[in-house]
């Protein structure tokens, strides 16, 4: 699988994504600077976490308008897998690749903790290695992950099976005590219509190495992508 990680000024999970990819894919991803306007041939583009442009104005707003994103949008439209993690998710919504917006956490504080996520759909390359209804644990680390979308958008996301992950209790129940940021519908990650773009707030790349204490279940996301490319 040929993968690339986009680097914006202020990205800070670019290395983490590259390390996880290198280990799982067996080859290092291309690191693409935000001013580059030509992308190599690719199967996966990762828009990593961090604080692109310091999260100033609105998180993801400035990065979404940088030159490289025009190319990312073109590739997404051509069917290349695009994964936005945390700030990457914010960037993808700001760029219009995914609907809705990520607002300040309901408690107005940055939150870093492991969260339990229920896999809502396996009908996409990102989650094909999970079981539907499976609960995985990834860490979150964000101040603005409170997912919001207008009612008609929410209806479409639900109706088209485009919610990929929801925040739940360890045994897979949805309840407000396990929704860390106030997201509508406890949404942690969503897909685009074509199911080749995933944005999620939790960090699968930090949960890919079992030593780091999250069960190592993040790796399956990248393994699923490799499988889909090979298929």
């Amino acid at each position: 699988m040929r993968a690339a990680v986009i680097v914006f000024p202020g990205s800070n999970c670019d290395r983490d994504a590259a390390v996880a990819l290198t280990k799982i894919v067996g080859r290092a991803p291309a690191m693409i600077w935000h001013r580059d306007t030509e992308l190599p041939k690719l199967d996966l583009i990762v828009v990593p976490g961090g604080f692109s442009y310091g999260d100033y104005l609105r998180s993801g707003a400035m990065a979404a308008r940088s030159p490289v994103m025009r190319e990312v949008i073109k590739r997404a439209e051509a069917g290349v897998a695009v994964l936005g993690i945390c700030n990457g998710f914010q960037i993808l919504t700001e760029a219009g690749l995914l609907p809705g917006a990520l607002m300040r956490n309901a408690a107005l504080k940055f939150i870093c903790r492991p969260v339990h996520l229920r896999v809502e759909t396996t009908a996409t390359a990102f989650t094909r290695r999970y079981k539907k209804g499976q609960v995985v644990t990834f860490p979150i680390a964000h101040g603005e992950g409170n997912y919001f979308a207008a009612p008609e958008v929410m209806k479409r996301l639900e109706g088209e099976d485009r919610v990929a992950f929801r925040y739940t209790s360890p045994d897979g129940r949805i309840d407000p005590a396990h929704n860390p940021n106030g997201s509508l519908g406890a949404i942690a990650g969503i897909l685009n219509e074509r199911r080749n773009v995933l944005g999620l707030m939790p960090h699968p790349e930090r949960a890919s190495d079992p030593l780091l204490g999250f069960g190592g279940t993040g790796a399956a996301m990248f393994e699923g992508l490799i499988e889909a490319v090979a298929a």
Binding site: F51, G54, K109, F110, I111, R206, L212, G213
Partner: protein, 729 residues
């Protein structure tokens, strides 16, 4: 009109003798810019004039030490050609004035100290002291400081993995914010601040200069008085985004070999950085101040020399490397300007639009910096309190409930969850254990990190308190299985002009020195913050010890949570059940008296070496040192971390129950093991006291002969206090 220059000097905090010395060095009257520069360079903050004689007594060497105090941060060898670079620094006064920005810029400053040396920062810690939870401003300080630390560190993408946070009325008017950064570098890839070569370009990079924090260095060297809240200087605002770019740009440039010397602009900004580089290199510097990138119009030489705008660095480049460096900084969208040249004059000469604004000899200014051997009186010894002098509780579980719900012992989760502790994907143990453990990227090695100090012990007996802070740091590293390497000390005290405070300082240094010598735990960097007092009321002496250790294999460390049912719980070390200056005495009996627990450094060493070897061999399944609150609190911590219960049996010959459960004897650990007999036998051979005191199992914590309590209830008390407190008015 002629200016009364002596009065200007006095306004800047230079006393009479110091001003006479200025006249002597110059052989003429200084101008106002020069007075500003002298005042900054000779401030307590920059010159360490009251502390130097004492700091010299600390042990700073050892086979592991690559670079001791004197550079931006200390450096220790961690094998395989790699070094760990670390330091802790205070930002107390700015954080009191503006908690968010003060704490944020504190983190920014310490990060720069570490990456200036060529190291990539890999972890942050923070030690916080606030006033009484009852004080009306405490909540405001806690929320602002924590948000500021998180705001800066999170944006930088450096995980904040540990720290400490306690409360005491002595900090009502002077909170403490001590921030520590740990970085990683190649042994042969370190950078230093000594300028070399004549005619080399002096380069300014980073943010533009504004009028931020002019006089920061002199401010942090003065006590607060009633109207200092009104005299607010321009507060420095942190821009972590720019700092992240500065970090990446500096590391990129460092890899090219273009840099001869580099120094961050911290306290006293351009003044201290340029003097430091010139003085260490035995050179002069000619600065053209009009070349400095400026944020505001109408800035004067005085403003430019003394501004404490953040996120700036000064470098000396190899000749001809300017354009290569400029390209890197422009790529990262940072300001870059050649603002001067190194000279062989031994003088700092700064011009602005061709006019000489400052012309000072560098060495005399550094050499003649005042040094005071301030008078000090030793702190009187307090009597030891025997267990028999303290009421015996009839329900130890009720005592445990109270203790776990006190401000000092309650969980600090509300704080650390606002810090990104897992970014960089190398955090093996984050906040919540004894020491944090961060993997050395790309290896199986790990660094163990901790921050420790028990100010109430330091107040009761500075020498024992100083020892205890170092011993506890060493113990916390040992408890995860790490080999302790070295420490950084962040010494927070009241006014050194008060002989009693100076006595606290001297005592703590003696204790720190003794412990660090006995435990092969040298001091490689540090920071002194005096004048933490308001209207004569000083803080408790607080020498915060930041520590670093190394583990060979991060897969073989110990953590505090019990791992399985039916394991034996063994107490390593013993003691009479020392209750003087304990939390039991303060929280249950309402007394803050008595001598603190003495530290036997030889026993500390033997016990720690034994525990470390047992962890390495895999015999120990969980481990926790015994500190604040004593044995029962330590066992509760282990139960709460795992949600597994335990049953304790008071062994024959134990001290009275309250002394046994809540005494704060030093040098002790609690471990869980599968084979207790074998461990106890090995301990006996090693000359270490070890006693089986109970078993893991169930969902309750039970003390033989008393009632039990569910671990869930303990958790809810322990986790509940801080969120409930912060939700208050």
């Amino acid at each position: 009109m002629t200016l009364d220059l002596a009065a200007v000097a006095a306004d800047h905090g230079l006393n009479d003798t110091e001003y006479q010395r200025v006249l002597q060095i110059l052989g003429r009257e200084p101008n106002v810019v020069e007075i500003g520069v002298f005042a900054a360079m000779w401030s307590e903050h920059c010159s360490y004039k009251s502390s130097k004689v004492w700091l010299k007594t600390l042990p700073t060497t050892g086979p592991q030490v690559v670079c001791g105090p004197g550079e931006n941060a200390g450096v220790v060898d961690i094998g395989d050609g790699q070094v760990c670079v670390f330091k802790m620094e205070s930002h107390n006064h700015p954080s009191y004035i503006e908690p968010y920005q003060g704490a944020a810029t504190g983190v920014g400053g310490i990060l720069r100290d570490v990456f200036t040396m060529g190291a990539r920062p890999i972890a942050n810690l923070n030690a916080l002291r606030f006033g009484s939870p009852k004080h009306p401003k405490t909540r405001h300080f806690v929320s602002g400081v924590v948000a500021g630390i998180g705001g800066y560190g999170n944006c930088m993408g450096v995980p904040t993995v540990g720290g400490e946070c306690t409360f005491h009325p002595a900090y009502d008017g002077n909170i403490l914010v001590n921030a520590m950064t740990v970085g990683l570098a190649k042994r042969d890839g370190l950078f230093f601040s000594a300028a070399k070569g004549v005619g080399n370009p002096v380069v300014y990079v980073g943010s533009k200069t504004g009028r931020d924090g002019i006089h920061g260095a002199t401010m942090s060297s003065a006590s607060f008085d009633a109207d200092s809240e009104a005299k607010r200087p321009t507060v420095q605002v942190g821009d972590p985004f720019t700092e992240k770019l500065l970090l990446e740009a500096c590391l990129e440039l460092m890899a090219t070999g273009a840099i001869i010397a580099i120094q961050d602009m911290g306290a006293a900004g351009l003044t201290s950085s340029s003097f430091e580089m010139a003085s260490k290199g035995g050179l002069g510097i000619a600065l053209e101040l009009d070349k400095v990138p400026m944020r505001e119009t109408g800035m004067t030489a005085y403003d430019l020399m003394l501004s404490e705008s953040q996120e700036r660095m000064l470098m000396v480049l190899n000749p001809g490397q300017e354009e290569r460096a400029r390209a890197i900084f422009e790529k990262w969208e940072l300001d870059f300007a050649v603002i001067g040249r190194t000279t062989d004059t031994g003088r700092m000469v700064a011009t602005m639009n061709g006019k000489v604004e400052l012309d000072l000899p560098i060495d005399p200014l550094a050499e003649a910096a005042p040094q005071y051997n301030r008078p000090w009186t030793p702190t009187p010894k307090r009597p030891t309190i025997a267990p028999g002098d303290v009421t015996v509780p009839n329900d130890p579980i009720a005592v445990l409930r109270t203790l776990l719900g006190t401000a000092d012992l309650a969980s600090k989760r509300w704080i650390w969850e606002q810090y990104d502790s897992s970014v960089m994907a190398d955090t093996v143990v984050g906040p919540g254990g004894d020491a944090a453990v961060v993997r050395v990227h790309g290896t199986k090695k790990g660094l163990a990190l901790s921050s420790d100090c028990t100010p109430r012990y330091c107040y009761a007996d500075p020498v024992e308190g100083g020892k205890q802070a170092v011993a506890e740091a060493w113990r916390n590293l040992t408890a995860v299985g790490a080999k302790p390497l070295a420490i950084t000390d962040n010494l927070n005290f009241g006014s050194p002009e008060n002989p009693e405070i100076m006595g606290q300082f001297a005592g703590c240094i003696q204790g720190i020195g003794a412990a660090s010598r006995a435990l092969d735990f040298p001091v490689v960097s540090g920071n002194v913050s005096f004048y933490n007092q308001t209207e004569g009321r000083a803080i408790l002496p607080t020498p915060t010890i930041g520590s670093v250790g190394v583990v060979a294999d991060v897969a073989r460390i110990a953590s505090i949570g019990f791992k399985a049912e039916g394991e034996a719980i063994v107490l390593i070390g013993d003691g009479p059940g020392h209750l003087g200056s304990s939390l039991y005495l303060r929280e249950i009996e309402g007394r803050e008296d008595g001598a603190p627990p003495p530290v036997d450094l030889a026993v500390e060493h033997t016990n720690g070496d034994f525990v470390r070897a047992e962890i390495a061999s895999g015999a120990v399944t969980s481990c926790h040192d015994v500190s604040d609150g004593g044995l029962l609190v330590a066992i509760a911590d282990m139960a709460m971390a795992s949600r597994l219960g335990a049953t304790l049996d008071v062994p024959a010959g134990a001290p009275p129950i309250h002394a046994w459960l809540f005494g704060e004897d030093q040098g002790r650990y609690v471990v869980a093991v599968r084979d207790a007999e074998a461990l106890v036998a090995r301990a006996r051979r090693a000359g270490v006291k070890a006693a089986v005191i109970g078993r893991t199992g169930g969902r309750e914590l039970t003390i033989g002969g008393f009632r039990s309590i569910s671990v869930e209830e303990l958790r809810s008390i322990h986790e509940g206090w801080l969120p409930a407190y912060m939700a208050g008015p």
